[in-house]
């Protein structure tokens, strides 16, 4: 579960106040809003990267408001993916596990399992330089998922991808949610993406967060991600 209770976030001179939202365990939430409205700030506050000045953030059953990012049990995929240029894809997937002192055998098994799920086995020895947009996105997802997080925070994961790759990653995200049971909060501008993936949609406008229900009666949009996954 991701739950924000009356959260206020400060980032320099920018501030968001009285933000509340709930995404039940294992469900997929989409956060929409115009550029600069504070979507990324809110996502980073959930990750522990921005200062929460008031309110509570609950992830799973735990109040993580005052916990360090490392202790929150989250996977974070930023918009620019922020892959580590000095590490191979294998090392990316193993990074969080090495930090947790996993033994090499268990670590190798987990990396292979993730590489299989994300279909990146062939690029395990490569460094990020020269990877395609889709491959980079899969690596960033694998790195975020490696230590079994309860919550996955995705900042515009499908932006800057071509149509075909967007389709693939969309399907992959739906598969990840279904197979791993992870609770997802995904930022996007694209209503088609939201229609395709979301079980809960929130719109951040003028510093106010409104839940927006999916309208089943609305005409089916020509989605860049294809048909909605049930």
């Amino acid at each position: 579960m991701i739950a924000l209770h009356d959260v206020s976030v400060q980032a320099g001179t920018f501030r968001l106040d009285h933000i509340s939202l709930t995404i039940p365990t294992g469900e997929y939430g989409i956060l929409m809003g115009k550029t600069g409205c504070g979507k990324t700030t809110l996502l980073e506050a959930i990750c522990g990267l921005k200062r929460v000045v008031a309110g509570r953030i609950i992830l799973g059953d735990h109040d993580v408001t005052r916990l360090k990012p490392a202790e929150r049990g989250i996977g974070f995929v930023p918009q620019d993916k922020a892959l580590f240029s000095t590490m191979t894809v294998y090392e990316h997937l193993a990074f969080a596990l090495r930090i947790r002192n996993w033994d090499e055998k268990a670590l190798d098994t987990r990396v292979c399992e993730l590489a299989e799920l994300l279909d990146i086995r062939a690029i395990l020895p490569r460094r990020p330089y020269g990877l395609s947009g889709g491959e980079s996105q899969r690596v960033a997802l694998g790195r975020a998922l490696s230590a079994h997080p309860h919550v996955l925070c995705l900042d515009e994961p499908l932006s800057a991808l071509d149509e075909h790759t967007r389709q693939e990653i969309c399907e992959l995200l739906a598969t990840i949610r279904a197979q791993l049971g992870v609770t997802v909060l995904h930022i996007t501008h694209d209503p088609h993406e939201a229609m395709r993936l979301a079980q809960h949609i929130f719109r951040l406008e003028g510093g106010i967060l409104n839940p927006t229900s999916l309208d089943p009666g609305a005409p089916q949009l020509h989605s860049s991600c294809g048909n909605r996954i049930q």
Binding site: E44, C47, G48, L49, K68, P69, A70, R72, I74, G75, F76, P78, D80, A82, L83, F84, S85, T86, M87, F95, A96, I99, R100, R127, Y129, G130, R143, A144, S146, A147
Partner: protein, 298 residues
């Protein structure tokens, strides 16, 4: 809109319509001036400086010969100076890298009150005349706290600082470190903090994120900072002369040798030592260019 404004707007539209007519002078083919003077200007301005550099090096090499070179290298004083230069420059480089990495990282990653002031303070060793740095160091170590610190240092290591080898290292460090700090700050500015943020969410402490993500990403900057620090230390003369003295076989480094040989009228030996310094600097630059352009990222 007032009626007179409307009339003015209409007149503008009419003028625009007229200007699209093929008879209009505005419709004549556009001719571009030759690029030749621009390139000649670039070539001349760049060429003058490059010519001076190459001419200086060639004049030096023409002034000396293999015999003078061999005689100079055989001199125990010069050999001592070369050895001391290599050792002190390497120590200074290591010390500078530690300090520059910490300072560069702080200045790049954190916002705090007085940051602009601190930034200006860090530039002082760069803008001050080298002699003034030496003099300031000397005055510092003749003050109460300076004398106390030197006494503690002597008690701990058995070496004095002023007019001794540690003084050579400190004088080199004061200047070289400032350049290394600038380089490391620029390096960390170019590395997105986002990578560290991701590392934090993956389970790292700040320290783990720094050592496992940021520092490896900064490897090229480290190499450049080390080169700059080493090269600056090798050429440092003014602060060393004032703070550590120019005593033969004691605090004599290569620039000091050039000065001492000149002062006794042995220009050939001074030029030979200068050539050695040029060769050392060129070797370092070649190594850096080689490693710096190696595509380790792939």
């Amino acid at each position: 809109m007032k009626p007179q404004d409307l009339c003015a707007a209409c007149a503008n539209v009419e003028l625009l319509m007229t200007s699209t007519n093929s008879d209009s002078p505005y419709h004549a083919p556009h001719k571009v001036r030759s690029d030749f003077p621009f390139f000649v200007g670039l070539f001349l301005l760049s060429g003058v400086y490059l010519f001076l550099i190459v001419a200086m090096v060639l004049a030096n090499s023409a002034y000396t010969s293999a015999d003078i070179f061999a005689r100079t290298l055989a001199s125990p004083e010069i050999r001592y100076a070369i050895k001391l230069s290599l050792i002190t420059c390497s120590i200074t480089t290591i010390l500078s890298l530690w300090v520059a990495t910490a300072l560069g990282y702080c200045m790049s990653r954190f916002e705090f009150r007085g940051k602009s002031f601190l930034d200006s303070v860090l530039d002082i060793p760069i803008v001050l005349p080298p002699l003034v740095i030496g003099l300031s160091l000397l005055i510092l170590f003749r003050s109460g706290p300076g004398i106390w610190f030197e006494d503690q240092f002597v008690a701990l290591t058995g070496y004095r600082i002023t007019y001794a080898i540690p003084g050579v290292i400190l004088a080199q460090f004061m200047v070289a470190c400032a350049f290394a700090v600038r380089t490391m700050r620029a390096t960390f500015d170019e590395i997105p903090a986002r990578c560290e943020h991701v590392a934090l969410t993956l389970g790292c402490s700040r320290s783990q994120a720094f050592w496992s993500v940021s520092l490896p990403e900064a490897r090229r900057g480290l190499l450049v900072a080390a080169t700059l620090a080493w090269a600056r230390s090798l050429g440092e003369f003014g602060p060393i002369l004032i703070f550590a003295g120019a005593t033969r076989m004691k605090t004599e480094v290569m620039p000091t040798s050039v000065f001492l040989q000149m002062s006794i009228g042995d220009i050939e030996s001074a030029v030979a030592v200068s050539m050695l310094m040029i060769l050392a600097a060129m070797a370092v630059l070649v190594v850096v260019r080689f490693w710096g352009t190696e595509s380790y990222v792939r």
